[in-house]
């Protein structure tokens, strides 16, 4: 169902799966996890998979950041492609305004 669902479900994963969650501390995925869990709570596991798909996907994205990583890779590869295809000169390959190290 979710990326974070264990590959093999067993009594052991049922026991330990709930120990670590995004509810610890004040992480960025806290609300999204709670929303997804509330939705699953309301609809149950089978209907919840359909009804809460968006919320679960959002939580997956927040915790694993697949889309953001894919975006980064796509942009990086596009830049390399343009360079190899000759659309970008060597001096022009990378941005002229790189981020300053103290800003992140």
């Amino acid at each position: 169902m979710s990326i974070l669902t264990p590959f093999f479900k067993s009594p052991l994963t049922d026991l330990t799966g709930s120990v670590i969650s995004s509810q610890w501390g004040d992480g960025p995925c806290r609300d999204m996890e709670m929303k997804a869990l509330d939705c699953l709570d309301a609809y149950g596991i089978r209907r919840g998979e359909v009804k809460c798909a968006e919320l679960i996907k959002n939580f997956d994205e927040c915790s694993v950041k697949i889309k953001q990583m894919n975006r980064t890779t796509a942009m990086r590869l596009e830049r390399h492609r343009q360079h190899f295809a000759g659309e970008r000169s060597k001096e022009d390959k990378y941005s002229k305004n790189p981020p300053s190290p103290e800003t992140y």
Partner: protein, 148 residues
């Protein structure tokens, strides 16, 4: 048979055994030692007090300056961050203009977070923040902890 001769004290007996105590002449009396100790301790404690006060004041001033500057530095950093994100967005628009189906800030038109406000700010990962720059620029930030 040989003549036997016993060892005997010298005539007039042995001299007296010198067992009388001979103390060294003290440089300072006990009262002077204790008084001197107390006096020097009091004097150095006064000097310590002066030094403590000056160090405390210096630290207080530095702490106050740091507390006063921190919000401004934080705001400046946030401002620089947002400005850089704007630069990155324009850079992305320029870079991906020939890629079919690509929309800026999304994964081929699919927003990062579904539902909700599409204009909601999403923090980039550091790799995405530095995606348009040379890796050397990212190394400056990522290896900062190794230099400090």
């Amino acid at each position: 048979m040989a003549q036997i001769r016993q060892d005997l004290p010298p005539a007039g007996g042995y001299g007296p055994i010198n067992y009388k105590r001979m103390p060294i002449k003290p440089l300072l009396s006990g009262a002077a030692l204790i008084g001197g100790y107390l006096g020097i301790t009091a004097g150095s404690l006064y000097l310590y007090y002066l030094n403590y006060k000056s160090v405390f004041n210096r630290e207080l001033e530095a702490r106050g300056a740091s507390l006063a500057l921190f919000p401004m530095l934080l705001a400046e950093r946030d401002r620089a961050y947002l400005k850089q994100l704007r630069i990155n967005r324009e850079e992305e628009r320029e870079l991906m203009k020939n890629v079919p189906g690509w929309k800026v800030g999304t994964w081929y038109g699919e927003p990062i977070y579904l539902g909700g406000d599409p204009n909601k700010f999403v923090d980039p990962r550091i790799q995405e923040y530095y995606v348009h720059a040379n890796y050397k620029e990212m190394a400056k930030r990522c290896e900062m902890s190794l230099w400090s």
